[in-house]
């Protein structure tokens, strides 16, 4: 009796937090899920079925392609950069500066990033102008910056620093003793990397790649600022569905598209969680 009263009193100060999250996170999420399987209170699978339309499938496919390409490029180049970082002394100014810059750049998404690339390789961008006057090469071309190809380049800008932030701790966690043990048993540098460090780092690398995939898959602002019309990728299709659903006569299709996004990101994040658990077995 007293125990129950005590735990109720202990739980009471947590109520505002739970209520807030229910209102502003849980209810919107449930609204999306509910809205994607019902229309005006009656349940049906019309909107889920509409996800199979060629336009919706095409957007999903391009989103997956964009995310996969930028995740792999970001992961590989980010791993190279991390490797360059750990080769400096842990306390060096270089390492602190580079890691600080990376943590800032990984946050640097959104509208500003779109404008940064417009200023660089847009129609009258700095690099475009430079190439035009110095060698006559037309960097702008047919406006590829504003297509999925352009998004690949732009997304790489925040994917590489994110990879550094996520992957660096694993690389730093490799112990000197492991290398010494390998070397004292006669391993070459190549053998150490392929048979000791490689297998140890593989889950961390794959996990980070999945995180990068999710990061790019759900990114909206940069794409929205760059691509002002058309909906080549899923987030932009959600924009169109939200802003013009009356015209399309597909009330609530945005719900189904958002639901699709939840599913994809959730699958990726579960995979990420499993791989992180595996890495944390030896890290620290």
């Amino acid at each position: 009796m007293t125990a129950t009263r005590g735990s109720v009193r202990n739980a009471l100060p947590l109520v505002p937090f739970f209520v807030f999250l229910v209102i502003f996170l849980i209810i919107p999420t449930l609204t999306v899920i509910n809205g994607s399987v019902s229309t005006n209170g009656t349940y049906n699978l019309d909107k889920i079925r509409a996800l199979g339309d060629s336009a919706a499938l095409g957007a999903l496919g391009k989103s997956v392609l964009l995310s996969a390409v930028t995740a792999v490029i970001g992961a590989v180049l980010g791993a190279v950069l991390s490797w360059l970082i750990v080769s400096s002394a842990p306390t060096s100014v270089f390492r602190r500066v580079v890691t600080s810059i990376c943590s800032v750049l990984a946050q640097f998404g959104g509208v500003a990033l779109a404008f940064a690339f417009i200023a660089t390789i847009g129609y009258s961008g700095v690099l475009t102008n430079w190439f035009r006057t110095s060698s006559g090469i037309d960097l702008y071309g047919t406006g590829w910056l504003y297509s999925v190809t352009g998004l690949m380049l732009v997304y790489t800008y925040f994917q590489i620093p994110l990879m550094v932030i996520v992957f660096l701790p694993a690389l730093e966690g490799l112990r000197v003793q492991w290398r010494e043990a390998a070397v004292s048993l006669g391993a070459t540098s190549r053998q150490y990397w392929t048979q000791v460090a490689g297998p140890l780092l593989a889950p961390a690398f794959l996990g980070a790649t999945l995180l990068l995939f999710a990061n790019s898959f759900a990114a909206y602002a940069t794409a929205a600022a760059l691509v002002s019309q058309g909906n080549p990728i899923l987030p932009l299709m959600i924009r169109t569905a939200m802003t013009s659903e009356v015209v399309l006569g597909q009330a609530g299709f945005a719900y189904a598209l958002a639901f699709e996004m939840i599913i994809v990101v959730a699958i990726i994040m579960v995979g990420y969680g499993l791989l992180v658990r595996r890495t944390s077995r030896w890290l620290r």
Binding site: P13, L14, P16, F17, F18, F20, L21, I23, F24, L25, I27, P28, T29, T31, V32, L77, L84, S87, A89, S100, I101, Q107, F108, G109, G110, V111, A112, L113, F115, A116, I118, A119, T120, G125, Y157, F158, P161, V166, G173, L174, R175, V176, W178, R179, S189, L211, A214, N215, A219, Y220, A221, T222, A224, S228, I238, A254, A258, I262, V265, A266
Partner: protein, 272 residues
């Protein structure tokens, strides 16, 4: 530790770093160049930068975004700090669920939240009026993962239980214990949580634009359709502000700010 992974040294490393440096700094340089061009191509002008305060729409959007940043930080601290301290002291059973809820916005992108928040916001605008400042509620959710990690980090580094038992046995109430004993000891965590939240809110576009509110980023995009120079200047200004905030933070706290392990929502701020 790093000796475990002998990398290249000296000039070799420098050489390999050059392409990265060009890739990351060229767009920043280009923004500075682009935002100070004159229409004729002769000389330089600061008109784009002057428009930050001279252009009424832009200036009021800047004020809105700053107001949102303040409100979001206040709401986030009010919600998170007492809850997290209380969980450590009296409700350890709730640790996992609080952590799960705080990190959940990493899995539920801002784009999904804005699609589903219409019903909730009908109530919000009915109670608080139809102001862009009401976005502070949903922005608080967006910044939770980053804020949680920052505060959790510094709470872990002190012995909350002993501190508060000492305070309580000397006659302090819960309010005094939290405000005057625990909070001063987790100051660096609170500061990082606040700074990261400000950076996220100032860069937020996704929710504001799709919910139909005019914050800084929404206005920048609108201006960019006609006046690239001003839009680039404003983008670079927010960016530099964010750089300064986060760099100051990493110097002050002497460690890397907590990694955003997620969609920017990112961050995209949120969102890329």
């Amino acid at each position: 530790m790093s000796a475990a992974t002998t990398g290249p040294s000296g000039w070799k490393r420098a050489l390999l770093l050059v392409p990265f440096a060009i890739f990351f700094f060229l767009p920043l340089y280009a923004m500075a160049d682009f935002s100070t061009r004159t229409p004729t191509g002769q000389g330089r002008t600061l008109q784009g930068w002057r428009n930050l305060v001279a252009d009424d729409t832009l200036y009021s959007a800047i004020l809105i975004s700053l107001g949102l940043a303040v409100l979001t930080v206040a709401l986030m601290l009010l919600l998170l700090v007492p809850t997290m301290i209380w969980v450590r002291l009296r409700a350890p059973w709730a640790t996992r669920i609080i952590e799960f809820l705080c990190l959940l916005p990493l899995t539920i992108p801002a784009l999904v939240i804005v699609v589903g928040m219409r019903d909730v916001y009908l109530w919000v605008t009915w109670i608080f009026g139809d102001s862009a400042l009401t976005l502070a509620f949903v922005y608080t959710v967006l910044v939770l993962p980053y804020a949680y990690r920052a505060i959790d980090g510094s709470l872990s580094s002190i012995d909350v239980k002993t501190l508060s038992e000492a305070a309580r046995s000397l006659g302090a109430g819960w309010g005094t214990t939290i405000m005057r004993v625990v909070v001063p000891n987790i100051w660096s965590g609170i500061l990082s949580a606040a700074f990261i939240s400000i950076a996220v809110v100032l860069g937020e576009y996704t929710i504001a634009s799709l919910a139909g509110y005019q914050n800084l980023q929404v206005v920048i995009v609108a201006i960019g359709k006609a006046d690239g120079m001003t839009a680039v200047a404003a983008s670079l200004a927010t960016l530099l502000f964010g750089f300064v905030l986060l760099l100051v933070l990493s110097v002050v706290t002497g460690r890397r700010p907590d990694s955003p392990t997620a969609p920017e929502p990112a961050t995209e701020g949120s969102t890329p």
